[in-house]
Each structure stands twice: as C-alpha cells, then as structure tokens.
Symmetry: D2
C-alpha cells in the first residue's frame, strides 16, 4: 500500500531533502508539493538536481486536495506553520518541521519566537519528534513536531547522561559548529558565498539561540528540575553538518557506558570507541549521528562530541523516520543510505 504525502514548503532545502529521501522509499508517494511563491514551477526548475524524478508541479497550498493525502510534511516558516496546520483536515497526519509545536508551554514559545501562539489546543496534542526518545508516542500521534537541528544534536549528546545522572547538571556547555544550509534558502547578505567562504564566527552569543527553549524543556523534564545549559553556535563554511562539542563534568567511562546502554539498539546512532571523535564529513547526506566520548586531562571532566547532518538526521531524515512510525512502516525505510564522502 502506498501512502500519499504532501510537502508544504517544497522550495526550501528541507523540502528538497524530503523529496530526495522519499524517492528511496518504496511505499510513499509525493502527491503534492506546496510552495506559495514558486507555485506553477516544476521541481526541476526549483531544484535541478531532482529533474530526473516524476513529481507534481509546485502549487499553492490552497490548491491541494488534502482528502487524498495521508500525511503532510510541513516545512514552512514558524508562525505560518501553525496557521496552515490548524486548517488541515483532521484526517491528515502531520509532521511539522517548523518550530511551532516544539515547545509545550505557550509562554516559552512566545518568549523565544516573539509572537503569541495561535493554536494552543493543537499544540497540546503534538508529540516532540526526537524519534529515539518519543518512539511510542509518535506511533500514535496525529501531529509530530520535528526538533530543531541543533536541539537534536545536543539532545543526542546529553539526554542519556542526564537521565542516568552521570554529569553535573549545572555546568553543561554546548559549543556547536553549524553548516550554512541550516540558515535556509532565503537570500540574505550574511549568507552569501563571498561573505562566508574561508571564514567562521560565533552567533547568537550568550545563549540566546531559540533552540535553547527545547533544551530547557527537555533537559528539565528528564532531570525533574530546571536545567539550563550554555549554548554557542558557530557558522562554518560548509553546507551540511552540525558538530557539537559538549563540555561536562562527569566520569568518561560512566558517560560512555550510559551512551552504550541508550544507543546499542538504535539503528541511526553510532557510539564511537572511547577517545575517538566524529566528523561532519562522515555523516553527510545520511540519517546517522556519530557520538564520541573522551576524558579530559583534568580529572572528572569529559568532552562529548556529536555530529549529524542538519538537513537529514537534524530535519528531513528525522521527519521521514517519524512519518514511517506514524504510517506503520518500518522506521528505517528510505533512510539507510550511506553518507557521501568525499
């Protein structure tokens, strides 16, 4: 049986990544591609690398017949997303890739995103989409909120450690190195090749990045008390990848053991041998997350490193992984493709 899906926001990078991955899925068919400003164009015009595929023409969301759609991937900007999803028929399952349904507390949403939430009741039904930790809820959810790409990376590097109580909760520092595609496809001066190539810099300095809302929510829930981390993202001249270097206080062996317990059976999370480090180049284009653990020379301090592809495991790959669960498919279908290196 083939599931019919719509992708809203198909002219962005996560939309294209969904198409690329679904092409490898035997039981999912792209039935509609929504893109307001580029409606009427073919996918080959918007993304020439997909020109060999037989895909629907891009259309306005209002033109889509959702009665024929089983599941809708919503890759729209935040705020727009909550409006669009509110208007979808309840028969359509939804995987939202925006930030709109990630935060359970509407006040937190407003604090980080600047606008009041307009679909609070719907928010209450949403399941947080970090598959490895919300698997059962996702299976029966109608609406799944995809995580932020930085938020996913940091959580893979920290959730088991907080749950197992093997690190100091009051001294957690996430230093992240993020590739450019995470900033999206909208033209901005600071994203031009001439601006970014051959240079790199921190941004959202002082733990002001919006993905902190997710860290606060999730880590506090696991710990059963407020947990606040420091988080500094950096923009690096590469297209895909997030690398988290996480500084914690705790015993390296205990930390490695905690990860081993959590991830042994996970198909997409690879724990490296003690002392080894991951690289973004070794997960590029794939749904894998590589995690490393190393003891610092200072006793009791450990460095956790994690790498994933922001567009795949950090976004569209995660979305398909969740859709598989929601549609009764094998969780890994369409997602086991090896990374592209070099």
């Amino acid at each position: 049986m083939t599931h019919k899906v719509a992708i809203l926001g198909a002219s962005g990078y996560t939309g294209a990544e969904l198409v690329r991955l679904i092409d490898l899925h035997p039981n999912i068919e792209v039935a509609a591609l929504g893109a307001e400003r580029k409606a009427g164009m073919s996918m080959a015009q918007v993304f020439p690398h997909l020109r060999h595929l037989d895909l629907p023409v891009l259309c306005k969301i209002s033109e889509i017949d959702f009665s024929a759609i089983d599941l809708c991937f919503c890759a729209l900007p935040h705020k727009t997303s909550q409006e669009v999803i509110s208007a979808l028929p309840s028969s359509v399952k939804v995987v939202d890739l925006s930030a709109d349904f990630r935060l359970r507390d509407p006040a937190e949403y407003e604090k980080w995103y600047g606008n009041p939430h307009s679909a609070v009741a719907l928010q209450e039904t949403a399941v947080y989409g970090l598959t490895e930790f919300y698997r059962e809820e996702i299976k029966s959810a109608r609406l799944v909120a995809g995580t932020g790409c930085n938020a996913a990376t940091g959580q893979f590097a920290l959730r088991p450690l907080i749950a197992d109580g093997v690190i100091d909760l009051d001294d957690i520092i996430l230093d992240m190195k993020c590739a450019v595609s995470g900033a999206g496809r909208s033209p901005k001066e600071n994203l031009l090749h001439a601006e970014l190539s051959e240079g790199y810099h921190p941004y959202a300095i002082g733990s002001t990045h919006r993905h902190l809302g997710e860290f606060d929510q999730e880590f506090s829930a696991i710990a059963g008390r407020p947990v606040k981390v420091q988080f500094t993202p950096h923009l690096v001249p590469a297209n895909r990848g997030i690398l988290a270097t996480v500084y914690v206080k705790g015993d390296a062996a205990a930390i490695h053991a905690s990860f081993a317990k959590a991830y042994t059976d996970e198909p997409f999370v690879e724990l490296l041998p003690m002392g080894e480090v991951p690289s973004t180049r070794h997960v590029r284009g794939s749904n894998f997350c590589h995690i490393g653990v190393a003891a610092d020379r200072i006793e009791g301090r450990t460095i956790v490193t994690a790498a994933l592809d922001n567009l795949t495991k950090g976004s569209s790959g995660q979305a398909l992984q969740n859709a598989n669960l929601m549609l009764g498919e094998e969780e890994t279908t369409g997602l086991t493709i090896a990374p592209l290196f070099p």
Copy 2:
C-alpha cells in the same frame, strides 16, 4: 541470488564509492576488500563514514579466495592493475577502474602511460566500459575497462554528434573543470587543502592529459578517420564533479536533436532544454549526467556542456552499472539515488 564481489584498492575513493553504492543493491554482497598497505584495518578505520556497515576487514589481495568471488572490481593504480588481473582465475568477471585496459593499441598505451603493456592478450578481450555505447558487448564480457572520468564526460558530450556528422571534426575544444577527488587519496603537496582552496588553475596544458588516448581511440573509431580534439583540464576547489564546456562548429538545433535521439531512453543521461546549462552540484553523488546545448552568437558555433560526478558516473557508478549487466541484473539497480544538494 546474491552475487559476491571483491573490491581491490578498497582504501581509495573509488573503492569507498563502490561500497556506498553496493550497499543500496539488494543482490550484491561485498565479500572481500583488498588494500595492500592498509590490510588488517577495518573499513571503519579507513573510511569512518561507512562504519555502520557490516564489511569484511581489509586484507592483502593474496589472502582473498577468488573461487568464492563472482566479480572483482579492480580500483588499483595502472600497471599494478594489469598484473593483478592477469593473475585472477578466469572464472572471476572483472570490472577494472584503472587505465590499463582502456586503450586497444598497446603502443598507444605505452605512449600515454610510459610503460609497455604486460598483458596484451588480456587487453584484446577487454570491452571499453562506457555503458551507454557498449551495452551489448559488456553483457557478455569477462573483463570491462572502466573509462577515465574526463573521458566519460567528453564522450557523453561528443559521441552522438560525431556519429551523426553534425559537427566539424577538426575543430573540437574540450575545456574541463575537474574536482579534486579525481586526483585520488595519495598525499601530495599540490592536493593539500591549503594549496587548493580558494584557487584554481589549468593543468596538463597543451592537450597532454592521458585521457586523450581514449578520446583519440573512440572518436576516430566512430568517425572512421583520425579525430584529434583539444582538451584542457582545470582543477577547481570542490570535491566531486566534472564540467565539460565543449566548443564545436555545428548547428545547435541539429546538435540538440542528435542528443535527443541518442539519450531519450537512457536512464542516466538527462538532456536539458535548449539554452539551459548543467551544474556539477546538481549531479553530485549520483549516476546522472546532465547535458546542455546552446547556440553561440556567432552563427554555426555551438557550446555543449556536460556535468557528472567523477566518482559516480565517471567511475564507481559506471563500474556498478557495468557489473549489473555482466551479472544479469537490471542495469540501474543500486544506482538511482538522487544527487545530494546542497
């Protein structure tokens, strides 16, 4: 039925690319990975991006039991390749990725590669591996000689035009822009990141590149008379991709029609609408070749452009395509993955 294959030279880029592609193939199993200097290492150590795969440990070629092997991919340096292949049991089919069996005339081989050919009889049995043009011979071949990556690109851009007589054979210029992975994984000063990043230059200037041997052989055979092209490769700071800009004298419409006729049914060659141009970023990591045609402002002159991924369509993808034919598989199995963009 599963075919068992060996990959010799598994620690190089084309070896890793074969593993990546074969992982998507339901009926081929990697049974042996040969790598002389890195024998004893796991593939995860040599190529951490493949660490999630269950693969044999790298071993010396002499340790491989070829009686259990159906087909051998040989990704060794030229000269070594002919020696190794000569020693293989005749029951093993071979796809050679080196230059050793591409040129039918041993004198031409010696002229371009500097050493006398040591397996002339074997050479006589080899089929030139440009699948789209040697499909039938490949199906029944025991030994297929993979083409040079530049040679493949240039032939996709020129073979139909020479065959159809729509261009001047005495005035063909191939200006190619080649990514870095084509130069292989051996450490050399001129391939360091610090040397190449942010700069680009021509090399093998004056039509001295070895792939000209293939152009001369193939184009002359098609034309039935000697054809000599000009060919200038350039090294560009990117990892994957070859872009050929081909300057010919001929009518653009006739040229476009010639391509349309040749490639309409080809699964991997995409002819763009008249006036459009391909980009290496739109074929990266895939087995596709995109071809564009545009008329110059000077009447009777046309620019043909072609792009492919040197490691996939230009090498390991082509090799698997040929192996599929030799093993009785569907030609496209394991090869239809979409390009990775961005």
Copy 3:
C-alpha cells in the same frame, strides 16, 4: 601633498577593496564614503575587517561636499553611475567602476545594458581605463571608465596578439572561470553559500555576457575590422579570481614573443615561461596579472591562460592605478602588495 578622495558605493566589495588599497597609499586620504542605504553606519559596521582604520562615517551622496574632493571613485550600479557622475562638479576627477562609460557607442551601450544612455556628451570625454594600454590618455583624463573584470582579463590575454597579427581573428574562444565576489554583495538566492559551495556551472551561455561589448569595441579597434570572440564565463566556488583559458590559432613562440614585447616593462603583468600556467591563488589580493602560453598538440594552436584578482587588478586596483596617473602620483603607489597565499 595629500589628495582627498570620495568613494561612492562604499558598502560594496569594490568600495571596501579601494579602502584597503588606499590605506597603503601615503598620499591619498579617504575624505568621504557614500552609501545610500547604509548611510549613517560606520565602516566598521559594514566591513568589520576595516575597523582599525580611522574612516569617515558612511553618508548619502547628497551630503558630500565635493568642493573638497580631488577625485571620486564611483562604485555604483550602472545607470545610477551616469546620473551621479553627471551631477558632479567638473573640478572633481572621476574614476568610474561601473559599466556606464566603457562603451563609446551609445547604441552598443543600450544593446548590452538595456537602457538608453543619459549622459552621451560625458561619455565622449571618457577614457577607457585599461591602464597598460591607455596610459597617456588616462593621465590627462577627467573621467576614466574602469573596465569589466572579465574584460580586463581577456584583453590582457589578447590585445598584443591582435595588435601583432599573430593569431587568427575569426577563431578566438575565451573560456573564463570567475570567482563569486564579482557578482557583488546584493543578496540573491543563486549567490548563497549553500547554492555555490562545492559546485560550478557556466552562465551567460552563448556569448551573451555584457563584457562582450568591451571585447567587440576594443578588439575591433585594434584590428581595424570587426572582431567577434566567443566568451563563456563559469562561476567557481572561490571568492576572488578570474582565470581565462583562451583558445587561439597561432604559433606559440610568436605569441609568447608578442607578450614579452608588450609586457616586459609592465610592473603588474607577469609573463610566465613557455608552458607554465597561472593560478588565481597566486594573484589573490594583488594587482598582478599572470599570463601563460602553451602550444597545443595540434600544430598551429595555442592556449593562452591569464589570471588576476577580479576585485584588485580587475576593478579597484585598476581604479587606483588610474587614479595615481590622474593625480600625478607614481602609477604603482599603494599597489605593490604581494598576493595572499595560502
């Protein structure tokens, strides 16, 4: 004596490059920086790499007191440039970096740029700014029209050969590889890092690039009869640099000799020994142009290669070189800085 200059369009890349170079000039002072949309900002905000310099705040052009200005660099978009320059007091010398005064024939201007020229009389007084070939006229000019960056590169590679009659005028092909900064600082989807990194493609295919207007004008004037070249630019993932690979019919030795004669005494044009090739990385950030000559394997065909930095020798460096002549300074002052490698 210190000359006071204004830079209009100071928030673009050529504006910043002028500031960088003038900082090395002992006798020129930046007295005004014009930038309409960013008026009121400091240069440190617009270009943080210049924060150590003591520079005027950016202002609107209308706020500049031109009576205190000796020379004005005009780095504005075409069309705007002709309007602004027309309004400047005649006491101010002008080096225009736009396309507005490059083409002597207003009909040619309109053909290539799409709008009628609004300052035809002023155009008649303009001198074409390719310093090495218009040195004497530039010394006494009030208005110098800086060349296109591609146009400069191609002319360095061809002017002496056309003048000396050593190549076939009817078969000249310029294949150019251009870095990204030449496209300017305006945000556009196709200039994003995520779009460009790791890929490359031709553009303005079919000899439709506007710089052809300059080639036609200049080459025809030298030859004394119409000369039309083919010209295909390619966008390469690097920030600075233009590499021209020029295919000509003519004897390599005669061509090398023609260059040697033309450029022996030129401070910024370096002719490489026969057979060597230039690289954009070896001229980056400098005012040098490197030129190579190599014979093709086909007798009577030669490949000329030329590399320069589009922002320096191709634009702002050339502009300062011209300003030096116009102000009675040594032509090379402020311009002899070595390239930045790696």
Copy 4:
C-alpha cells in the same frame, strides 16, 4: 639602514608569509632563503605568488654566510630548530618560529614534544615571543621564541583576565576552531582537500594538544599558582584563521574592562563593543587580533571570543613584530596592512 635577514625553512607557509610581509618593510632585506630539500629552486618555483619579487635562490643552510646576516627567522620543524640555532654565530639575532624555545622547563618540553632538549643553556636565554606581554625583554633579546598560534590566541583572550583576577581559574575552557594552513605544507592524507573540504572535526581531544604546555607555563606564571585549562581544537575547512571561544566564570563587564585596560594602546589588538563577536574573515592576512566579550544568560558566566590569522599574528606577523623590536625599528612597520575580505 637596511637590516639583512635570513629565513630558514623558506619553503613552508610561515616562510612565505615572512617574505610577503617583509616586502612591505622599507628597512629589511631578505638576504638568504634556506630550504634543505628545495635548495637550488627559485622562490617563484616554490611559491609562484611571490614571483614578482627579486629574491635570493633557495639554498642549504650550510651555504649561508651568516656573518652578513643581522637577524635570522627560523621556520624549521621543532628539534631541528634547536640544533640549527645552536650552531649560529652569536652575532646573529634569532626569531624562532618553532616550538623549541617556548617552554622554559626542559622537562615540560620533553613531556609535550617527546624528545629531550639538546640546547638547554640556549633555552635559558630565550624570551617568550608574545610581543604585547614581553615587549621590553624582546627589545634586548638575542633569541626570541615565537609562540604557538593557538597559544597566542588563547593568551590574548585570557592573560589580562588572569592577571586582574576577574575569572575563576579552575574552570576555563578554550574551544578553538583552526584553519588548515596551521598544519603546514607537508603532504598528509588527512590534510588533502578531498578529506577536509565540507567537513570539520575536533582533534587532540581531551586537552592533549602541545600548545597546552604554553598555556600551563604562562597562565600559572601570571596567577602565581598552577592553572590548567581545557583546550579542544577543531579543524575547519578554511585556510587561515583561528577562532577561540572561551568559556569563563566571571562578570562580563569586569572582563570587558580588563581587556580595555590591557589593549587600549595596543596597535594590533582590537576590543569589540560588548556583545559583538569577531570573525576569522575579518582578520585574514593581517596582524590584527579581534576580541569580543558577551555575558551568558546564566549569571556569572561570560564568553570571550578571539580571532586572528594563524600565519600572520599567530606566527610570521608576530615574528616580524618581534624582529622590529630587536632591530630597533618601529614595532608596527610592515605590519599595518588591512585584512583581505572577501
């Protein structure tokens, strides 16, 4: 009066950078270029970007007449450096760019570099070359030990804070992002463009990098008690630049004030306004170091960021700055060139 200098190790990146900078110095002349393996070659062959300069041919060190040399820059590998410098006549001042004379305690040297020090007496005379903090000692030194490039970056970000007692000495984390040229020009697989482009990773994990020896020595000396920092370097796909993100416990305003006091009169250290961040692209090719301070959302925690060019301020620029002091020149001569952007 012109000072004659020799550069030993002239075929490496720091050697070339010294030549580039000295070319801007009116009173220093490169009299000898030593390079053992490339002896006999011209600098134009080894570094074509310097081909316009009139430079001595590369020679073996044994061929240099040091009686005619005022100062010698020694850009050789560690261990070789101490042997070569020991053999130089005492009349020659020396700026060593290697690690050989940075650590005052020979046991520390052996611990970090693996070999016993063979010139302990000479070591005792060496002055640590971080100009801004050892200015007076450098003026009268015969031998100055250039700092590690990471060591310089980290010290600019921390020395004033330790001296002023405004941060917790037991909880200092340096997360550094380093460009590729810092790894030198020797061909290694892991430095190939195809390996590094589009990916990034940590290395020397667990605070095992050799530059920690310098941090330990200097920070402990300032504090008057042992100080141990955590330091994780990352390799980023860019050619020049080091970015340090330093996590400290202390008040942001006090930290900013400490920097302001330390660096107000420093010509090459630029303190950014509170909350702003530096970028490697804004110091590239220059001798400047940009420093930023931002308060974290967690009270009492501050992030200090610092950026410099590893080949200039981190190595050859620092070396020339020191040489200026040793030769009685203005400290800034030849070093005020603006960064190259884009």
